[in-house]
């Protein structure tokens, strides 16, 4: 087979992206505290250790709380925003859309520092609540991007058809509107939850004394002996994020198909 330059480029590119990530699970099964080749043997000891680590469990629980709260709130805000942006035309609509999407490209550290300054000035003490606020800010643009694709094609005459066939507004919402946009909402929840779960910088600045999982991981890096079990935790997190985002993309495509437009865009 002839070696094509573009094929080689694609291969090198993908390798650069994913090979380092692959070392994480590989070393997490290595029977040694030192991260180096050759591998000493296979063990699941590091994973077993995760079961008995209360500090880690506390951090995980914090992350779940923040993730659930911020994904639900970000998705509700996203529903309102996406519906307004797709259904109504009002002055300043394009500018507003751009401003909402801006956190996607702003440096996270800038967002984190400015949030920290503002919250302290307002007299908030740092806690999981402040982390949640920060994560909502980070997640809303993703939520809007996902929901826009399921709302954009939503045909208003579907709701009219339901009314015309004798159903009232409430039944119409549950029998037509919700089923059609539900996959999009689910997709938004999963994506924003994943974003919150993986987010480090904002949590680092705003979490105070209650660490989230990424903060915990970072804090453990100081102890070389703890490294293997961080690798195990990282692998678990990696797989969880991958599964969550795959599910989210699956739902987003279904939502777009239901709304009658070809699946396009998206994050995966």
């Amino acid at each position: 087979m002839k070696l094509r330059p573009l094929g080689v480029y694609a291969f090198v590119y993908l390798a650069f992206l994913y090979v380092p990530v692959l070392f994480l699970p590989i070393f997490s099964f290595n029977d040694s505290a030192i991260v180096a080749f050759p591998l000493k043997g296979i063990t699941t000891e590091w994973y077993a250790e995760l079961w008995h680590n209360d500090t880690m469990h506390g951090a995980l629980w914090n992350s779940l709380k923040v993730g659930i709260a911020s994904s639900v709130i970000a998705t509700i805000l996203g529903i309102c925003g996406a519906r307004a942006l797709t259904r109504y035309h009002f002055p300043g609509r394009a500018g507003m859309a751009a401003l909402i999407m801006l956190p996607l490209v702003l440096p996270e550290i800038i967002i984190a520092i400015s949030l920290l300054v503002v919250l302290l000035q307002l007299g908030f003490s740092l806690s999981l609540v402040s982390v949640t606020l920060g994560h909502i800010l980070m997640a809303v643009p993703f939520s809007i991007a996902v929901l826009t694709s399921s709302f954009e094609g939503f045909d208003r005459s579907l709701e009219e058809a339901s009314l015309d066939l004798g159903e009232g507004p409430a039944a119409t919402f549950f029998r037509v509107t919700l089923p059609i946009v539900a996959p999009g909402i689910l997709s938004s929840l999963l994506i924003t939850f994943t974003i919150s779960l993986d987010e480090f910088i904002v949590a680092f600045f705003l979490s105070g004394t209650e660490p989230t999982l990424p903060i915990y991981i970072w804090s453990q890096l100081r102890f070389p002996a703890k490294l293997p079990h961080i690798l195990a935790l990282g692998s678990v997190l990696l797989v969880a994020s991958f599964l969550l985002l795959s599910a989210a993309e699956l739902f987003r495509r279904r939502a777009a198909r239901r709304a009658g437009i070809a699946a396009s865009g998206g994050f995966l």
Binding site: E160, A161, D164, L165, I180, A259
Partner: protein, 362 residues
């Protein structure tokens, strides 16, 4: 069809800001009638249909449906059903579930519900496709599903919002015939919104031609075509030559006119039309004029002209004929029947006409 009135629209006005989408529209629609609202886009025909369906309420005026005032009653409590322009098939449901959608509120038992769905699908030749997902069917099939979904409700009035405009020409012509048959079979009043004059003429019992939020003329297709009341209606429907004429004499329903380029004729005018001034516009359909080839010189009124252009349509040829005293050519259509030769540009011809060629547009 009988003479009972099923829908009575009484001086309905609908304003959007300062714009009057409907301006004091009054019309009565009979039970079992195939009624069309015909007009260019923006004339208010869809707005009027949505008023009947209950998606929108009039700014003033009232709508009576089967003897009851339904003004302000929401769509879900009106005995009307609609076939939407884009069909509005529920994308998350199968064909069968779409058709059965409105039955939930009737609380039928399972066997009865299934029987009705099957019957409705068979009525539109979709009996074999009930289990299909709604994104797996073609445009023509979507339209049939939309029809079945509306008809299963046994509405007093079925509203159709440009249902054929998304279909290609061949399928559209086929569906025109099918819709007409279906309407006769179920005996339900159909109200069709269309901008396609041919569609309105072939399908309707009566047509209301709308312009600028008003009904310009409401009558049977033949009347609309042969006796358009004014120039906008005449222009919108079919081809028409517009000729200037002087009114010489008026007596009852008869007027004597002197048509520029043609000559004098005595023609009928509508009893309620009043002539202001001494000149009027006369319309003459291309097929109500003829070209004389020598063999059929029976018509006694003839003017001389020259062929400027011949447009060949297969079954018909449309000739533009320059007549000496007219600054614009007159269009005459001739059916290309056996034995009739085609004329070429530059040939001299005789244009035959008579009083029956002429329609006063007042």
């Amino acid at each position: 069809m009988n003479d009972r009135i099923i829908i009575e629209i009484d001086r309905v006005t609908r304003k959007f800001g300062d714009f009057k989408a409907l301006d004091e529209v009054s019309v009565q629609i009979r039970e079992g009638e195939f009624f069309s609202l015909l007009g260019p886009s923006g004339c208010g025909k869809t707005t009027l249909l949505r008023q009947i369906a209950g998606f929108d309420d009039p700014t003033s005026g009232s709508i009576r449906l089967a003897g009851q005032d339904v003004t302000g009653v929401p769509a879900n409590r009106r005995p009307t059903n609609m076939v939407f322009q884009n069909y509005a098939i529920f994308p998350h449901l199968t064909v069968e579930q779409n058709v059965a959608y409105g039955l939930r509120r009737l609380r039928l038992d399972r066997a009865e519900r299934e029987r009705r769905v099957r019957e409705a699908l068979e009525r539109v030749d979709m009996g074999h496709l009930g289990a299909r997902r709604s994104n797996e069917i073609s445009g023509g099939q979507r339209q049939r599903v939309a029809l079945a979904r509306a008809l299963i409700m046994r509405p007093k009035v079925l509203l159709l919002d440009e249902p054929l405009s998304a279909l290609d020409k061949k399928l559209r012509e086929q569906m025109q015939v099918e819709l007409r048959h279906l309407q006769r079979a179920v005996g339900i009043t159909f109200i069709l919104v269309t901008h396609d004059q041919e569609e309105a003429l072939t399908m309707s019992d009566r047509i209301a031609v709308m312009f600028g939020g008003r009904i310009a003329q409401c009558d049977r297709p033949e009347e609309i075509y042969q006796h358009p009341r004014n120039r906008v209606v005449a222009e919108f429907i079919g081809g028409m030559n517009f000729l200037e004429a002087a009114v010489l004499r008026e007596s009852g329903n008869l007027i004597e006119v002197d048509v520029a380029g043609f000559g004098r004729a005595e023609i009928c005018k509508p009893a309620d039309a009043h002539i202001n001034g001494s000149g009027i516009t006369i319309g003459a359909r291309p097929e109500r004029l003829t070209l004389l080839f020598g063999e059929d010189a029976g018509l006694n009124r003839v003017v001389a002209g020259t062929v400027v252009e011949a447009s060949y349509y297969g079954d018909m040829t449309y000739y533009s004929i320059a007549i000496d005293s007219l600054d614009r050519p007159v269009v005459v259509s001739m059916r290309n029947t056996i034995g009739r030769r085609s004329l070429a540009a530059g040939e001299k011809v005789q244009v035959g006409w008579g009083p029956e060629s002429l329609v006063p547009l007042i």
